[in-house]
């Protein structure tokens, strides 16, 4: 079995960065990617922005470059999903029943959108957005003049709203939150983002959800819980995501909410044992970040597939070379989460875990222009977010040093 490859399930950004990390740390053996999508790894953020508004853009516009270290010794098995994991035999079984033995396993299967919370009656015109294929399908539907209803007011929902509004669609956002982006940006900045959307003609139905759909064969109207009825040619469901871990059920790994991992990104079993030959990276991984506390969390920010992948790749390379990984793991893992969002001319950039905060404070600029807000949990600074004012926002990077914790 010594020839079994490093198997990466999920041909994703996090998977790619793990492979690069392993090569950089000296692993020269075979690598296999097993990915459910037909595409080689690509960058998702443009899917709600440029690619969604630019007819003709496709995989080539968003594909990650494949570096020379991965030009040889890499097999791509794409368009095929993993169905089961046998930890004892070190084998992943794919949906066709084929077995893929591994020397080490990388779990990089990410998330998928939560489905419509009510019965869709098989109607057409209902969309989600996670993959390139989703984006191309949605782009075709966002015609000027189309009545677009977006369920959910998180980043993906708000970015789709901005793109659709710029394209001349009539956009409504339906959300249970009081203001859009409430969880990530808080009430103050959320309210300002609502104002900016409204200035572009987007209508908000906050504190609301969907009650029912009308139409045949495609959705024509949606009925809200308050009884309000909205014309609707395109319904986009953007109410958050669930981890892709069904294929790990029964494997013995702790997949109660994503894949629980230690400070070396190594999977932890339901019985608490660490599996040194299995790592989880990117959005699907759940880990504690000592910059903030010791609670393991899944964090869906774009810089973390890279941070987790680089580290996990290095640790797996050491493991496969028969080295003692303990010192590497003991260094600890405390990446600074970072996210950004583009909506109209607002370029939002944040560091830290703003959604742990119980309050925000405007510290520079003014809300309706460029500004910087600090986010606090009690007295502790847990995040910073700015619209514009890049140097000020960037200067916070070093401010999240872990306070001494008992």
């Amino acid at each position: 079995m010594t020839d079994a490859p490093l198997l990466i399930v999920g041909a994703s950004m996090a998977g790619l960065r793990t492979a690069e990390g392993a090569r950089r740390a000296g692993y020269a053996g075979p690598i296999t990617f097993l990915g459910a999508e037909a595409h080689a790894p690509y960058n998702r953020p443009p899917l709600s922005k440029e690619l969604l508004q630019t007819e003709g853009q496709g995989h080539a516009d968003v594909a990650f470059p494949i570096r020379s270290a991965l030009e040889e010794g890499v097999e791509w098995v794409l368009g095929r999903a993993a169905a089961a994991l046998d930890v004892e035999r070190r084998v992943v079984v794919d949906e066709t029943g084929q077995e893929h033995p591994y020397s080490a396993l990388v779990i990089a299967t990410g998330l998928r959108p939560k489905p419509l919370p009510i019965d869709d009656h098989g109607l057409g015109g209902i969309y989600v957005l996670r993959t390139l294929d989703d984006a191309v399908a949605l782009r075709g539907a966002l015609r000027p003049g189309a009545n677009v209803v977006i369920l959910g007011s998180g980043f993906v929902g708000c970015e789709i709203a901005a793109t659709a509004a710029k394209n001349g669609a009539n956009v409504s956002i339906v959300s249970q939150s009081r203001v859009p982006l409430q969880r990530a940006l808080g009430s103050q900045l959320g309210a300002e983002m609502r104002r900016r959307h409204e200035a572009h003609g987007v209508r908000f139905f906050c504190g609301e959800s969907l009650f029912g759909l009308v139409g045949d064969p495609d959705v024509e109207r949606v009925i809200l819980t308050s009884g309000v009825m909205l014309e609707c040619d395109v319904l986009v469901v953007a109410i958050g995501s669930d981890p892709n871990t069904e294929w790990l059920q029964g494997s013995g790994l702790d997949v109660s909410d994503g894949v629980l991992v230690d400070a070396g990104l190594r999977a932890i079993g339901v019985d608490g044992t660490v599996h040194p030959e299995i790592v989880a990276v990117g959005d699907v991984a759940r880990y504690a970040n000592p910059l903030f506390d010791d609670v393991p969390r899944r964090v869906e920010h774009w810089n973390l597939p890279t941070e987790t992948g680089k580290r996990a790749g290095g640790i797996l390379a050491a493991q496969l070379a028969g080295q003692d990984c303990a010192p590497l793991v003991a260094e600890g893992f405390a990446p600074l989460p970072s996210f950004w969002s583009d909506q109209y001319d607002a370029h939002v950039l944040a560091f830290g875990m703003t959604y742990l905060a119980d309050r925000s404070e405007l510290v520079a600029g003014s809300l309706d222009d460029e500004c910087v807000l600090e986010y606090y949990r009690g007295d502790e600074l847990v995040g910073v977010c700015g619209i514009g004012m890049r140097s000020t926002v960037q200067s916070y990077r070093t401010r999240f040093a872990a306070p001494a914790r008992a």
């Binding site: 960065r17 960058n43 953020p45 990650f64 810089n303 970072s338 004012m389 890049r390 960037q394």
Partner: protein
């Protein structure tokens, strides 16, 4: 030598690259990106990190 090219139509001046390879990337007084078009080979790892963290994926590297 490594040649560096930043697609300035894509770049939103986020400045993430600055922290990975400050020898090559800087934000100027107006918060706009400035960069050197060439760098020595020993900066390759840092430059790849900068390309990795760029939100707009606007940084392109070629090895001469």
């Amino acid at each position: 030598m490594i040649k560096i090219y930043v697609d300035m139509d894509k770049c939103q001046h986020y400045g993430q690259c600055v922290f990975e390879a400050p020898e090559v990337f800087q934000l100027n007084a107006d918060d706009k990106l400035e960069y050197q078009a060439e760098a020595p080979d020993d900066l390759l790892a840092d430059l790849e990190s900068a390309a990795d963290v760029c939100p707009m994926q606007a940084i392109f590297l070629t090895k001469e």
